[in-house]
């Protein structure tokens, strides 16, 4: 019955990344909301866009009212769909992170996962990979698919009404939109990494009510600071962490001095050098790494609840 030799060869040949790959797949099996939620939102966005196309009066074509304004107006529904998807992904990821290392303790399945030759580091990395890589890429792919479908629908509608396709084609900055979206997703993901790290740490540590443990302590610190010292440094720090990436990753003023319209950010306005050079990014990443290291350690110690 025991023929260990062929398996021993396999054992030697098994690459170290395989447990990581399967651990990530396990996360996708367990958390189907990671792709079902964005897909549902995508379907809703397409449905809304279709309704708008049908409702649009015939005579309102794509005649240039204001040539300089047109790309933004044309891009509006496309970037709305993208913003909606990014927001959905952010909400999904918050709940994912809070449950990632908590759920397996609550349902005792951690005993099963730990009975397999997968290290705590691999498991935590797989779980961190979801907010840091899997979901941003999923959202990008879904958004691109949605935008291309919207484009096809517009072209079909325009063809049926006879006209405007060339205008749409030449004025809709779709590829620029998508390039800026990819850049923005990378920026947001890196900037929010400490938030994800914090949530994963709480999910590895808390015995119950992970959401409260994640949210209340930062709020309490801000409040105590405000009452005791009449200052709001910590609160400002939090605010900076949530929205502070924008002025670093983008030049917020157009060359003509006006503010950029978030519906259509020209690719010329991105400032990756300034973003990568900002201390806030690197401090955040160090904090995220520390949280993940602590989560790995906690997973080793923590038992089923």
């Amino acid at each position: 019955m025991n023929t260990p030799s062929p398996q021993l060869i396999v054992a030697g040949a098994m690459p170290a990344t395989r447990p990581l790959f399967w651990s990530v797949r396990r996360e996708l099996w367990e958390n189907r909301s990671l792709y079902i939620a964005p897909l549902s939102v995508a379907a809703l966005a397409l449905f809304g866009f279709l309704l708008a196309l049908i409702k649009r009066p015939k005579d309102e074509g794509l005649a240039p009212i204001n040539p300089s304004f047109q790309p933004t107006a044309l891009a509006m529904p496309y970037s709305h769909a993208a913003m909606l998807l990014v927001l959905t992904a952010f909400i999904v990821v918050i709940f994912y992170c809070l449950d990632a290392l908590y759920g397996e303790r609550r349902d005792r399945s951690i005993l099963f996962w730990k009975s397999l030759p997968v290290s705590d580091l691999t498991t935590v990395l797989a779980k961190a990979g979801v907010p840091l890589a899997i979901l941003p890429l999923t959202v990008f792919a879904i958004t691109v698919a949605v935008q291309l479908t919207m484009l096809l629908l517009s072209v079909a509608a325009l063809l049926m009404r006879g006209g405007g396709v060339a205008t749409l084609w030449s004025h809709l900055p779709l590829f620029q939109l998508q390039a800026v979206l990819l850049y923005s997703l990378a920026v947001i993901t890196l900037w929010y990494a400490p938030i994800y790290g914090w949530l994963l740490l709480i999910s590895a540590w808390a015995r119950r009510t992970t959401f409260l443990w994640a949210v209340l302590p930062p709020l309490a610190i801000s409040l105590v600071e405000l009452i005791a010292f009449h200052t709001a440094h910590f609160g400002l720090l939090l605010k900076e962490r949530f929205i502070g990436f924008a002025p670093k990753a983008f030049a917020l003023r157009m060359p003509d001095g006006s503010f950029i319209d978030p519906h259509f950010i020209p690719i010329t306005q991105i400032t990756p050098g300034r973003f990568l050079g900002s201390p806030g990014l690197w401090i955040g990443l160090v904090f995220a790494a520390a949280c993940l290291a602590a989560a790995v350690r906690l997973r080793q110690y923590r038992e089923p609840i």
Partner: protein
């Protein structure tokens, strides 16, 4: 080589001492039953062996330190805890895929062959399976792994008799051989006693008895004493006395069989009787009622 070797193993949770200086040694090819009342420290001992909890004292499993080398150790060790452990959202096919993906010693065909003899469907989720089927699935996964040590923590808890019998039959007939070692805890002592090669009683974190089944048979005798011989039998200092059908049954530790034969019918006590005698004794001397049901 000893598969498990522990010296002075200690573990406490707050003020509760779960393991109070446990020494144990399990050799290759043995089936050790770790038996004790609820809260005696059985699961704690197993969890320490599996690297699931930190501990004090010395512990080596297959020559490794389980706490710091858990993931390496799990290539050679399998674990089935009670049935609630497989995640409820997991599909049977996903369970096979995952274990095949991460375990270098998993032979998928073996697991498939075992599952083919059950009514478990590949597309089912664990939550859709009965308790017995979940255990069958877990057993199918574990038996397909060419491991050196199998740790079973109440593996048949909550299962009906048929599943329980099947579980141990499969393990013995298809899995166990001289290169494998099994450590099992269970409350259903009667069902495993014919399977075990060694037995260890644990109570309040201490080992009360540690011997092989052969040694147990040589050491302990139970005598259904003839009524007229009762006082003579009592003089030999039995460790336990109980009444059965109006006759006294006395349990002796290390009293020669020849000496006991004239007193009544001598036989080898069951593990359960031995357990009650030893644990009863332990709780009397400590003057504390045993926690929960003993068996």
């Amino acid at each position: 080589m000893n598969v498990v070797e522990a010296r002075g193993l200690r573990k406490s949770f707050g003020k509760t001492v779960a393991l109070d200086g446990v020494d144990m040694r399990v050799e290759e090819g043995r089936i050790l039953g770790l038996i004790g009342p609820n809260g005696a420290g059985k699961s704690t001992a197993l969890h320490a062996i599996l690297g699931l909890i930190p501990y004090q004292g010395e512990l080596k499993v297959l020559g490794r330190d389980p706490w710091s080398e858990r993931d390496q150790l799990m290539r050679d060790v399998c674990f089935i805890a009670d049935v609630a452990v497989l995640p409820r959202w997991l599909r049977v096919s996903q369970a096979l895929d995952f274990v095949a993906g991460v375990h270098p010693r998993f032979v998928r065909e073996k697991a498939e062959a075992f599952l083919a003899r059950t009514t478990i469907k590949r597309a089912s989720k664990v939550r859709e399976l009965s308790k017995g089927m979940v255990t069958q699935l877990h057993l199918a996964l574990v038996m397909a792994i060419d491991a050196k040590l199998l740790v079973l923590d109440e593996p048949t808890l909550g299962l009906d008799l048929l599943y329980r019998k099947q579980f141990y039959d499969s393990l013995l007939n298809e899995y166990f051989d001289s290169t494998r070692t099994i450590v099992v805890t269970t409350h259903q002592v009667e069902e495993v006693q014919h399977v075990l090669t060694d037995v260890m009683f644990i109570n309040r974190g201490r080992i009360v008895l540690d011997c092989s089944m052969e040694a147990c048979e040589a050491r302990f005798h139970e005598v259904m004493v003839h009524p007229e011989q009762v006082s003579a039998a009592r003089a030999l200092k039995p460790m336990n006395e109980r009444q059965l059908f109006g006759r006294s049954v006395l349990l002796f530790d290390a009293v020669d069989r020849q000496q006991l034969a004239p007193l009544g019918e001598v036989r080898t006590p069951s593990i359960a009787d031995l357990f009650v005698a030893l644990m009863g004794e332990a709780s009397n001397t400590n003057n504390v009622a045993p926690k929960g049901a003993a068996l």
